[in-house]
Amino acid sequence: MEILDPLLLSRIQFAFVISFHALFPVFTIGLAAYIAVLEALWYVTESAVYRQLSEFWVKIFAVVFGMGVVSGVVMSFQFGTNWSEFAFATANLLGPILSYEVLTAFFLEAVFLGILLFGRDRVPRGTHLFAACMVAIGTFISSFWILAANSWMHTPDGFEIRDGIVHVTSWLEAIFNPSLWYRFGHMGLASLLTGGFVVAGVSAYFLLRGRGLEMNRKALSMTLWLLLLVAPAQVLMGDLHGLNTFEHQPTKVAAMEGAWETRQGAPLYLFALPDADAETNHYAVGIPNLASLILTHHWDGEVHGLTEVSADQRPPVAPVFWSFRVMVGIGVLMVLAVLWGLWLRLRGRLYESRPFLRTLELMIPLPFVAVLTGWFVTEIGRSPWLVYGEIRLSEGVTPALTGGMALTSLLGYVAVYAIIFTAGIYYVTRIVHAGPGEVGPVDEPSHAKRPFSAADIPFDEDADSSNLSR
């Protein structure tokens, strides 16, 4: 029975739970940085606008962070349940790295979050700002460690394998492996883009409806300046990341480019239907020589093709090829959007242009799509390897796992996440619709230190306000 293959089901399950999890941190990392900036501006200028903005975004941050935490707890058990052979073989290396994430980041975030959410009137202003910065730094530290683990699986270094078990020979080389900084940089910028485009989109939403004009203009203007730097930087960073991958995982890049034969002066395909059986593309439309130019910086540079390795060492081409195009396409759209914004700003029409504001509003989901497709490129492009060149996917899966167990848990996670995700998204939209409140002293909620209790918007329409914590 094909469908009950534990390996395939485990892959689907892993892809599902981690994609679900990744949506939350990628947003909270960017948003935490934004909140820290707002708090710093409020500290320096004492202008109420910044505090009002910060209080509004902290509410959203709290809910998204809470969802990130519950989905993250699931992640820490996935390696053991479905990939026990892999976990056992790599525990010497990945175990300490993941533990350092808990020690250096999770406790930091969890503790200072309490101060950020509920401590405004309990600690001196400087301390409150400090807490905001610690939360922001904590989110970056956790992405550093998790990306160190992930990058090691793509470009393993600093280890040797004895009796099938990974032993670390150099912690520095293992942690700062060849793709770490590229991936960390690209992911960091992706988080800023996600936070930035969501804030810009929500501000545009309010401006279109004429609500909170002063505040939302400020927010839009701030984020567009930031995005003007970050969006083009991401294109550059993506290029560097790709060049690094070209050096270490040429087969993955061949799949991204849809390149079957090794050739000089390879074209960049805009459209193609890759066909793995025939080892060719159908209906290919490409720009001649451009792939060679990008990857080798020579008009006639050599680009490796997939057929250089045997068929059992190639990743599935079509998903990699298409995910890559979606991500890059969104990256280009983002650059165009920020340039449009600059042009409007120079002409003094930034806050009035309805088509522009409407576009920003519609762009809110795009960074999330780019992040997911980006991960699809990276991860699917790695197969059939789990640890590139060392451990195959089929060698990593839990031997005792049956198809029935894997299917049960997969369906279970889909059901649980569907409920939680719907409730969470529904609630965040309610907070957004309620809009930022007025400036003024905020009452302390009676139950402190829980992420969501920072948000005092009722969950259902008819919630009786006496139940609320305000």
């Binding site: 010497n92 533990s99 406790f107 401590g119 839990t398 005792a400």
Partner: protein
């Protein structure tokens, strides 16, 4: 290197973290288990508020336990999780529902019954799943080398079902003791009435397990019989804690039930460890065989020694910042 036995140090740290988790999350899971039986909706508010500020931090211990086991005793991580596959899924599903119910319940009215059920059901599920882990630990795992080769439902036997029931009752007792400490009036009176029954049931369960286990496991029987001369203080202390708890409940003391309840848990936990020592994955793998490479254990130990004091420092500081709130807040009496 010979002077310091890193593996033994790690055994201590992990053993302590697991126990920290059991005590801390045990009491808030216990609150969730008792929750549907509370006299009225207002008591439910109070009960939930009594654990609201702490459950989040408590769960970070679970994550640290998971990652720490992978780093220092990988065989435990990679045998327990596959062996308990479906149980682990149920536990995580329970923890998810319960985690978000904390948050959404206070802000809802139409959907409140749903979030109430999610909180109670999630807590019960997570507690029972952990009870199955304990039962499986006593019962042992079928392994070949370092790979689990047993079936998907080996963890589901009458014995493990009994340990699951016992842990649910135990957590409920811890929760009740915590509730007595944190509440007053109607809620507290209800808990004073309930707790002795929970204690009675728990004692019956513990006696049951203490008879059932040695009858089925010769090795454990031999361990206790051969070493009775040194081991007798454990059950004796357990009995003393029980008597103290009983007295404290009868005399309506507030603080003592919680601490004597914890003491009872300590003796049971030590008893389990003694039964299985030195096996971490009984009946085959000892803690030394389960350990990761010394370089890895050392690398992480340095970090723990350096960072744990810092973490404890800033955790204590936030508790201090919020010190007044626990008493003053609306739902907090």
């Amino acid at each position: 290197m010979e002077l310091i036995d890193i593996t033994l140090i790690w055994l201590g740290i992990i053993g302590l973290s697991v126990f920290m988790y059991v005590l801390l999350d045990g009491l808030d899971l216990g609150i969730g288990i008792l929750y549907p039986f509370a006299p009225d909706e207002q008591s439910r508010d109070t009960l939930m508020n009594s654990v609201a500020p702490i459950w989040d931090g408590n769960e970070t211990w679970l994550i640290l336990g998971g990652a720490g086991l992978l780093a220092t005793f990988p065989a435990v991580y990679t045998i327990y999780l596959p062996a308990l596959y479906l149980g682990v899924f149920l536990m995580l599903a329970g923890l998810i529902f319960r985690g978000v119910a904390f948050e959404f319940r206070f802000k809802s009215s139409r959907t409140r019954p749903f979030w109430n059920a999610a909180f109670a059901g999630g807590s019960l599920l997570a507690a029972a799943a952990q009870g199955f882990v304990v039962g499986t630990y006593i019962q042992g795992f079928e392994v070949e080398g370092f790979t689990y080769v047993g079936g998907p439902l080996d963890w589901l036997t009458p014995f493990t079902a009994f340990t699951a029931l016992s842990l649910v009752i135990g957590y409920a007792l811890l929760g009740a003791a915590w509730g007595i400490l944190k509440t007053e009036g109607l809620t507290q009176r209800w808990l004073y009435r309930l707790a002795p029954w929970l204690l009675l049931l728990l004692v019956l369960c513990l006696v049951g397990i203490s008879v059932w286990t040695p009858l089925t496991q010769e090795r454990i029987m031999a361990r206790w019989l051969d070493n009775w001369a040194v081991l007798w203080p454990l059950p004796a202390l357990g009995a003393a804690a029980t008597v103290l708890l009983w007295q404290a409940l009868r005399r309506r003391w507030e603080l003592v039930p919680f601490f004597s309840g914890m003491a009872l848990f300590v003796t049971v936990y030590l008893g389990l460890l003694v039964s299985q020592w030195p096996y971490m994955v009984p009946p085959e793998i000892t803690f030394r065989e389960a350990a990761s490479a010394p370089e890895s254990q050392l690398f992480l130990l340095l970090g723990v020694l350096l960072l744990l004091p810092v973490i404890i420092g800033y955790t204590a500081w936030t508790y201090w910042v919020f010190r007044g709130k626990v008493r003053a807040g609306a739902g907090y009496h």
